[in-house]
């Protein structure tokens, strides 16, 4: 096969794959703009912007959910990224680092919803059940271990040497962080932030259980509309859920998904 043929083959496969990838997004958008979609019809009978206009001020409370989800996920990502950056350093340079890391892997792979089920009693007893604060704490339990595992690979022997070098040059701990460690870690910190944002943003089961349905994040809205068989609003809420990650991707895919596991 000639190089030209190979190229056109690759282009062909690319086009097919891109079409497959874009289909679900187009499908969601179509449903969110539709009305009356009786059985054998391939497309909705009517098209309208009404659903989208109902985001704000409508009965649905979608706008409120969007803001709540954004605030919650941004806070979780900020706290967990900052916290795990510092804590992982203490563990990374510890003699028994390997053993400590096992402790982080366990909650990392544990089903969040089963963790929530087992902890539900304590959340109720401590008055955190059904509260935004309770959901936030529960989400920290699943985002923090991810951050810890993520950052432990950042604290290498080279980083330690770099830090010691700063000390012998006369820098204190604060200067080591602000002048070298944080600037050098900028990429990994952004990646971790986006990843943790997504974990929180996508979370459903744990949020539903600990929030007892009272903390109405976007994922809960999607589920609620599906239960009500309101597929146009379910699609609309799905669109809202999918958009921020796509925007992040648009800004920089290198930082968003450079290390998925």
């Amino acid at each position: 096969m000639s190089i030209e043929e190979q190229k056109s083959q690759i282009n062909g496969i690319s086009l097919i794959l891109i079409a497959v990838i874009l289909f679900p997004f187009a499908f969601l958008l179509m449903l969110s703009l539709g009305r009356r979609w009786a059985y054998p019809m391939l497309l909705p009978a009517e098209w309208t912007l009404d659903n989208w206009q109902a985001i704000w001020g409508g009965q649905a409370g979608l706008g409120e959910s969007l803001l709540l989800s954004l605030a919650l996920s941004l806070s979780i990502a900020t706290i967990a990224t900052a916290g795990s950056f510092w804590v992982s350093k203490q563990v990374a340079y510890h003699r028994n680092r390997q053993r400590w890391l096992v402790l982080a892997y366990l909650p990392y792979v544990f089903a969040p919803v089963i963790l929530a089920a087992c902890l539900q009693y304590f959340f109720i007893r401590w008055g955190l059940s059904g509260k935004l604060g309770g959901v936030a704490i529960a989400q920290l339990f699943i985002t923090f271990p991810y951050g810890l595992i993520f950052f432990t690979s950042f604290w290498t022997e080279r980083m330690l040497s770099l830090e010691q070098l700063i000390a012998t040059l006369g820098g204190n701990t604060w200067q080591a962080y602000t002048k070298v460690l944080l600037p050098v870690a900028k990429g990994p910190i952004l990646t971790c932030f986006f990843q943790l944002f997504l974990i929180s943003w996508f979370e459903y089961g744990l949020t539903a259980l600990i929030g007892v349905g009272k903390v109405q994040t976007l994922t809960l809205k999607v589920f609620q509309y599906i239960n009500e068989a309101n597929l146009f609003f379910a699609a609309l809420a799905s669109c809202l859920l999918v958009m921020p990650p796509i925007v992040l991707l648009w800004l920089n895919r290198r930082y968003v998904f450079s290390k998925v596991i």
């Binding site: 040497s161 010691q164 070098l165 000390a167 012998t168 040059l169 006369g170 820098g171 200067q175 070298v180």
Partner: protein, 239 residues
Amino acid sequence: MFLEAKNINKGFGAEKVLDDLSLQLAEHEMLSILGRSGSGKTTLLKILAGLESPDKGMVLLQGQDMGPLPPNRRNIVYLYQEPLLFPHLNVFENIAFGLRLRKAPEGAVQKRVAEMLANLELPEQARKMPHQLSGGQRQRVAFGRALIINPKVLLLDEPFGALDAETRASMQQLLKRIAKAFAITALFVTHGLKEALIMGDRIGLMQQGELKVYDSKKAFIEDVETGVQAEMDFWREIE
């Protein structure tokens, strides 16, 4: 004595790394220490710099006990085999780093870094990033970054270990020249016999955590343990 280490002991678990080691270094003197890898050279330097603490013994600088002082207040700079340049800063800012820590005025920073760059024969590289430099250039930047804060003692841990033979020879000459110009007090650790002889005003041999410092280069050459004799025999036999 300018720098003194007294009866230093250090072990990691059951392994004894430094065994009752003592050493003295006069001001403006460069002492080279020859030793194989694993002989405890690096641990000794790290203890002097304050990056490790000894199990027993003390470090004195100009008669003052260094024990309670953290590394950033000792004014002893430790240089690694790797240059460890800060990847996010250009050559100029890498060299200026110590001055920035001390919040030196901008004018002084510009002037002193420019002088240092000239001294290191690097003035054209000032705006380059570390990854754009050659191995020898990087090591020179690392020297400049250390020297610009006028450290009391410079600890060099096989600084030319990663360089090719030719660059290595020219770097040795450069360091000797700068050492004289800046009247540096330094410990130079190496596993190269020839390098130990070239760099040191005096020479020591480190074996199994113990250090033997020779009164003269002649004494060093004549001691069978240093391996100089074996080396000379080898070249003689070839003739």
